[in-house]
């Protein structure tokens, strides 16, 4: 789908990419069905059927696009982000603050509280509209901090009452003389939170990049990531490239320069929107190979970056020396971890990447839970498909569950898989621990990327296995809040199956897109 920068709203991922949040089966079927339904050749001689999504009457809270949009916005240095919402949305501030403090430490920034201001809407505003308060808060943001940019995140409440945030933003931008950027991220508008990354990418493309770049920087590569330590600058330096590390903590001038770069690499597939937009609008080529997790994908990623930036002459040498550098430690890790069984519960890119990392470490993986699935990315290029790549390189995953961080389903799939450890995001590790399974939660988004990421994950598993005693002692004295019939289940979608039909087959309650 072509990216449309004329409007301030972004079609959500289910509209653009056919994103689903519930599916269960063999991973290779998911790949085939995804390509058959949404790939560029759509069913022309391909195997695979129409990609369908399961229903579930039972659902548990997860995240929303607003959380994500806020998180991305506040990491733009010098910004103020306004949450135009009742106070509840601002619960995210504590989490953003924590992340900010950790990143401050890792990236050597100066400690300061994130500039997040809530317009604090109350009952009267629901009746009379919230624009007067928003205007006040925009003025407060300017008076208090003189920021480089004021980003406004909308909320479910303001979406329903219909506040015209766009017009007010334009008016105050003209008056104050600083960019005032609306981000339409009402939680109810997308079923998966990752639409929030598109919304922040959209804001950057529409209002924050330099739209008339006068020069090209041939040695500059845009790396889009979700925050965390900068592991990319040293990686790219080996090819004589400079890294413009954006999204997770960038300055305004870094964003302005995005169109000048020689290439863009999105380190998470949920950031593909901005990468595709830079290619579409400014001809900055996107690195369209799978994200570099594991040896092979990292090799291929470096080769593709080298090809785009005309550095083919030195890339093989870099790859060879990197392999040699990490070999002793990698060998030790493989010796320790060989034959262990791991389980992965994470967002799609992480899940796919960790399949590669774990199997590269000779860890067995028969169960994976991914928080969503994008049948294609914004490039519409199936060569970029990380799951396909992981399966082709390392073999199929027999139990692949797509579940939007649903605790009850994560339980069931863990109960089925019975792994030696779990690597997870979004607090699934705590669940595993109460089942006696050592768990590690990945907090920073770059932890598994590249050659060093492979080693980092190996070390993480080694440390995680040491917590077995803790988990086992906990499991002996823990209970989960589910009824026994569910605790006995091994099918994460048992609640979604319809009654047994007269023909004797049980049918899943699928809905097709």
């Amino acid at each position: 789908m072509t990216i449309n920068l004329k409007t301030s709203e972004v079609p959500n991922r289910e509209q653009r990419l056919g994103t689903i949040i519930r599916w269960e089966g063999v991973a290779s079927d998911l790949v085939l069905d995804s390509h058959a339904t949404y790939g560029p050749k759509k069913n022309c001689g391909q195997q695979g059927r129409k990609l369908c999504e399961l229903d579930s009457p039972f659902t548990q809270g997860n995240m929303c696009a607003e959380c994500v949009t806020i998180g991305q916005g506040i990491m733009i240095k010098g910004s103020v982000v306004i949450q135009h919402s009742p106070i509840g949305c601002a619960a995210i501030q504590a989490m953003i603050s924590r992340l900010n403090r950790d990143m401050t430490n890792q990236r050597g920034w100066k400690l300061e509280n994130p500039r997040l201001i809530c317009s604090n809407l109350t009952e009267d505003d629901m009746v009379f509209g919230g624009l007067a308060k928003l205007e006040q808060t925009i003025r407060d943001a300017w008076k208090r901090y003189h920021p480089a940019v004021i980003l406004i995140a909308t909320s479910c409440a303001t979406g329903i009452i219909g506040d015209d945030v766009d017009s007010l933003s334009s008016k105050l931008e003209a008056e104050i003389g600083v960019k005032v950027v609306p981000m339409h991220c009402e939680g109810f508008r997308a079923k998966h939170w990752s639409s929030g990354f598109d919304i922040s990418g959209h804001a950057i493309l529409r209002q924050l990049v330099n739209k008339n770049p006068t020069k090209k920087q041939d040695d500059l590569v845009n790396v889009l990531h979700l925050g965390g330590p900068d592991i990319y600058t040293p990686m790219l330096a080996k090819l004589g490239l400079r890294c413009n590390l954006v999204m997770g903590g960038s300055t305004m001038s870094q964003l302005e320069q995005l169109p000048e770069a020689a290439a863009t690499a999105a380190m998470c597939t949920v950031l593909s929107y901005l990468a595709a937009g830079l290619e579409q609008e400014y001809g900055v080529p996107e690195v369209k190979v799978p994200t570099p997790y594991g040896l092979k994908a990292t090799d291929e990623w470096l080769r593709e970056v080298a090809r785009i930036t005309h550095r083919e002459d030195r890339v093989e040498e870099v790859i060879a020396s990197e392999h040699a550098r990490i070999k002793p430690q990698l060998d030790r890790l493989r010796k320790d971890l060989k034959g262990k069984k791991g389980y992965i519960a994470a967002g799609a890119t992480f899940a796919h990447g960790l399949i590669a990392d774990l199997r590269e470490l000779e860890v067995e993986v028969d169960g994976v839970l991914s928080f969503h699935h994008d049948p294609v990315y914004d490039s519409n290029d199936v060569e970029q498909d990380m799951l396909a790549e992981a399966i082709q390189t390392f073999g199929d995953v027999p139990h692949y569950t797509v579940s939007i961080s649903q605790h009850f389903q994560a339980y069931t799939s863990l109960h089925r898989s019975k792994p030696d450890f779990i690597i997870a995001r979004h607090n699934m590790a705590a669940l595993a621990a109460s089942l006696g399974i050592p768990g590690a939660q990945i907090r920073f988004f770059n932890d598994g990327v590249g050659y060093d990421g492979l080693l980092r994950i190996g070390e993480l598993i080694r440390r995680t296995l040491l917590t077995k005693k803790f988990s086992q002692s906990l499991a002996a004295h823990s209970s989960l809040p589910y009824k026994q019939w569910w605790l006995d289940q091994t099918d994460p979608f048992a609640l979604s199956r319809k009654e047994v039909t007269p023909e004797g087959n049980s049918h899943a309650n699928f809905s097709c897109q």
């Binding site: 659902t59 809270g61 201001i117 943001a141």
Partner: protein, 461 residues
Amino acid sequence: MPISLANNELLPIIEDVVEKTNSIEQVRYICSMGSLASVLAIPRATPITHCGPGCANKQMGSIAGLNGYQGGEFYIPSTNATEQEVVFGGAVRLNELIEATLKIMDSDLFVVLTGCISDLVGDDVGSVVRKYQKQGVPIVYAETGGFRGNNFTGHELITRAIIDQFVGDYDGPRETGSVNIWSLLPFQNPFWRGDFTEIKRVLEGIGLKVNILFGQESAGVSEWKNLPKAQFNLVLSPWLGLTTAKHLEKKYGQPFLHVPIIPIGADQTSAFLRQVTQYAGLDEARTEAFIAAEEKHYFNYLKDFAGFYTGYTCQYHLPSLSVVLSESAYNLAITKFIVNQLGLTPGRQIITENPPEEFRDAIRAEFRNIAEDVTAEVDFEEDGYFIHKRVQETDFSDHTPVVFGTTWEGELAKNLKGFLVEVGYPSTDEVVLSRSYIGYRGALALLEKIYTTVVRASTAA
């Protein structure tokens, strides 16, 4: 005006802003639906949230997951409302979720909480829930849309929903010597679990049967069912719980005792226990015996601590002044203790949870009467910008302050060359399990925390 955008530079605060507005930053409470945490605080009770996809975990993740790292398994049922529910209404979806929740979740009580979406589109949640109530399902509902208030007022809404829709009418006999406790807001205060244990311990020590109602010392819903039988209600907080106590007085004719200051330290706690003894008509000799034993223990430790407190005054710049930026309950309690037990000067007290206007004069009066020879002033402010501004504008020269606050005060405490002790939401530099800061035992832990912080900050890292 040139603005530097280098990574390491702070933006200058350029204009002097004096006027308070609707804006609020460095948020120190969550929304009305955040009272789902209070439901989770009742053993074997489950919240069912009817709201957008991010609401339940945002409230839970911030108030419990990060705030003292009190807990973090996200299993809260939620309708995760989409455009469909916004346009066509969410009652059908809520009904589907309740039905599925009853199938899968093992719980003694379900509390349906609504978010902004449901309250705005006007879902008739009552009629959905009443259908289950008629079938005998232990389920209640409260309309807690985020624009209606914060988690303090939401707490009283869900409490009332449970009392009116689940506990129900009662005109049987009273049980002399039993009490219901209404005190700190669960999870909001990172130390509530340990504090509730200490409250129950000291009240049992003087012979009361205690319905603590929230936390792991609670027996769960059976305790709530027994609530109307109690001899009286004890509201142990400046204002939270008063609305509930007044409701119970009207509903069951049950009297209440209001003690605005949660006791910290031996003097306060002993006085509190004597007050309760007198009010409830308990055995005074038993109370005195309990107090004597507790005080012996407490003052033995305090005597040992004196070696540090008097011996290292020069060496470590021990704090001489307190700045307390917190919810009213801890603000009052800590100020009282710090001034009376340690002799610190009350420097700046700011109450951050936006207590209803009608309770504020009584709170001010308590501060003015903080010690026989000391009065303190208090401000009410919820916007972090002004909380910090007021502190920065205060002259602390000649003093080393100790700041009792939140993670938001990390930078501020450094700039004041003082020490930070995290006591309120959000406390994300503090891991809290069973620690309490109140009563006899908690006071000792609070002293440990304050002076460990001082020593650590004063020696080589």
